[in-house]
Subunit: 421 residues, 2 copies
């Protein structure tokens, strides 16, 4: 049991107001949020917040974490060429050990940036899950099946990764329409029917992806997935940059999640997703970095800033956007998309939280702390990151088993072997 006291609390439980108060944890859950109390249990540790802010951790709702190996390796190429000529051939060489070490590198970056879980699509899922478990980190795996894989593993994967305890979970999905077959889509329909789970995929990231899908099927990716009945249990899409009004209507009606990835969409010149319009339609929104090859950081402060300023730029209106809504997307929204009870600080919710150091120059003056976080916050403000009731990062130190130097060393060896002939 841990007590955080003498701080400011942004619980995100309903309002985005900040109040003075305390947060207590018990095991991997939050046990109390509110004003200081005279009577309290005996704690294992009491952490004096010294006026700093405690709030739900960031959720990186779209990632390919182990792609750390291609960070700064294949930049400045168009998406399709980048993916098919550069990335896919290198990925074919990945071993489970590579994915283990490269995922741990990403987890260090997540923790240093206050990110308490990621919604990850990648290969070598056992090694990925093991890396998360060994670090004490929370990950939601997205199926990411494609026509080229043995996609019949969808059922067994769903069972296996949903039986690994509270840190690991699995949601069915395909990589994208353009790497799927109608057989795979039919299989997915069966899988979501058998498991009762939602469905996710890369969706409408580029203009050409949508145009080619229409050419193949006479339907946009969203309409195709809907026609196959894949959204019966909810779910959503990653990117959703080039959506039609009919696509948005499907997302709105079914309560689907759009995972906005503004950094990746800008760097790959894919465009700007119309999240302001999506918000006005009541569509659920979360925020993701995408993989480190296309971003290249795993940094939700940067992503929040991009999410809001790219709306202003795209729609030529400086008044567009609401910082509090963007912060909510980044924390509570991700939890909703990922099916995690970590959307707010409240008794019974997962103790996945972050302490923000407010005593830094970019947080002054204090007119509006939520705007300070979105418009001028940075990873320097992350003082502590807790996942499942355990402190995994505090004041620049990591508590994930191996020392960071060892994780860097091993990730570098993998990256070198994979990228050099």
């Amino acid at each position: 049991m841990i007590r955080f006291f003498n701080g400011k609390v942004l619980s995100m439980n309903g309002s985005m107001d900040i109040t003075d108060g305390e947060v207590w944890t018990d095991g991997d859950r939050i046990s109390y949020v509110g004003p200081a109390k005279q009577e309290r249990p005996v704690f294992d540790r009491e952490i004096d917040l010294k006026g700093d802010l405690i709030m739900p951790g960031f959720k990186n709702a779209h990632a390919h974490s182990a792609m750390t190996f291609v960070r700064s390796f294949a930049d400045d190429l168009p998406l399709q060429r980048w993916l098919f000529d550069k990335i896919f051939p290198l990925e074919a060489r990945l071993t489970p050990d590579d994915v283990y070490d490269l995922t741990r590198l990403a987890i260090l970056e997540y923790l240093a940036g206050g990110i308490t879980s990621a919604f990850d699509m990648y290969y070598k899922r056992e090694a990925f899950a093991q890396a998360s478990l060994d670090c004490g980190y929370r990950m939601v795996l997205c199926g990411a099946l494609s026509a080229g894989d043995d996609w019949s593993v969808g059922d067994s994967d769903c069972e296996k990764f949903n039986s690994m305890g509270p840190l690991i979970s699995y949601i069915p999905g395909i990589h994208a329409e353009y790497t799927a077959s109608t057989d795979l889509l039919a299989y997915m329909k069966g899988l979501i029917g058998r498991t009762g789970k939602p469905f996710y995929a890369h969706n409408s990231e580029t203009r050409s992806e949508v145009a080619e899908c229409i050419e193949r099927h006479g339907l946009t990716p969203t309409a195709l997935f809907e026609e196959f009945g894949l959204f019966e249990n909810g779910g959503g899409g990653f990117h959703c940059v080039h959506m039609t009004e009919a696509d948005l209507e499907i997302f709105s009606r079914r309560g689907l999640w759009v995972v906005n990835c503004p950094g990746s969409n800008a760097k790959l010149a894919s465009g700007v997703a119309p999240i302001t319009e999506m918000q006005s339609l009541g569509i659920n929104l979360a925020l993701g970095t995408d993989g480190p090859a296309s971003n290249n950081a795993l940094n939700m402060f940067r992503e929040m800033y991009l999410a809001i300023v790219l709306q202003k730029l795209q729609f030529r209106d400086a008044a567009v956007g609401d910082a509090a809504e963007v912060l909510r997307m980044a924390c509570s929204g991700g939890a909703g998309a990922m099916g995690l009870e970590a959307d707010c600080l409240a008794p019974g919710r997962l103790a996945d939280l972050v302490v923000i150091d407010l005593d830094q120059p970019n947080m002054y003056p204090v007119h509006n702390t939520v705007k300070n976080l979105v418009y001028s916050g940075s990873n320097t403000n992350v003082r502590l990151t807790m996942v499942g009731g355990k402190v995994l990062y505090e004041n620049g130190e990591f508590f994930v088993g191996d020392k960071p130097e060892e994780i860097y060393r091993r990730a570098q060896i993998s990256a070198d072997r994979l990228t050099k002939d």
Copy 2:
């Protein structure tokens, strides 16, 4: 005399290559850059870089530093309304003490982000200069005269602020065409003639600014300044978002500097300056944050990322942009625009430099450190900031006279008094 050893050196002296080596300082200048030597002088301090990177500091080539007081106070408004309805009325209340304290707050943020000097346009210039001197910080003042001021102070300001020692200098300028009169422009012509100095102004930040200038004068701001002979000694413009081909020709022919401010231009929905085209025309480029009211951070890592990804997004081409050129803009470019001998690490240059911590997750793997800096770097990577041979920031600690807590407290008092009725 200080010795930095056992590190990697990105001197920016000609190439953007990184080599193993040492950097020595003597007083406020660099005395040696190169491989380790057996024979060396006695140093006051020897700093083991432990493999970290030493490079020229970032130069924030456009700022209104003391506008920290309106950070997160008046966001999400169009530029002209923001400026005339919100900002100007509050600025009328500023006292010299306010500017002193609010500038020191900005200096803390600069130091924490590896920014070794700023090119600043603001009021109460004595108080601003005193804040810089008291912190040991380097600032270049830009005149920022406007028709509403007593602009006859241009001559005496130029003399006064260029006689304050090596940390302070002054370059003539006006706020912008839309706050100038033809009398003021004629005075500026005289001033640059008498002083031999270059000329700067806010230039073509918004479409309406350009349209209204054409309506008033039949010329764009750049063409008007050229017609008045203001660029005889060089200079440049801040923003330069909406430039005609003829404007770019003037900038190219006269060797003027464009100071790109991508964060501010995005947040105020002003647009994206065509820096890729400018580069291809050989126009000199520097990078700035603009003031903390319109950005809202003073963070050159974020600005570098925006500078390059907004080009890709705007021109729908992921292949556009060169990370090394953007890093050069942010460090050497600023020095060129600001007239500082701080463009590279070389004997005789100012010892304005930064040590980058490479042992953090966002700097791994090491495929290309320059790309890592631009695409995934952040203020967390700033280990040490040196201005004029003095360490002003190291491992999270500031060495600027007063403790940061005292500077935060005083800045908050000013911000509260200025913004609350």
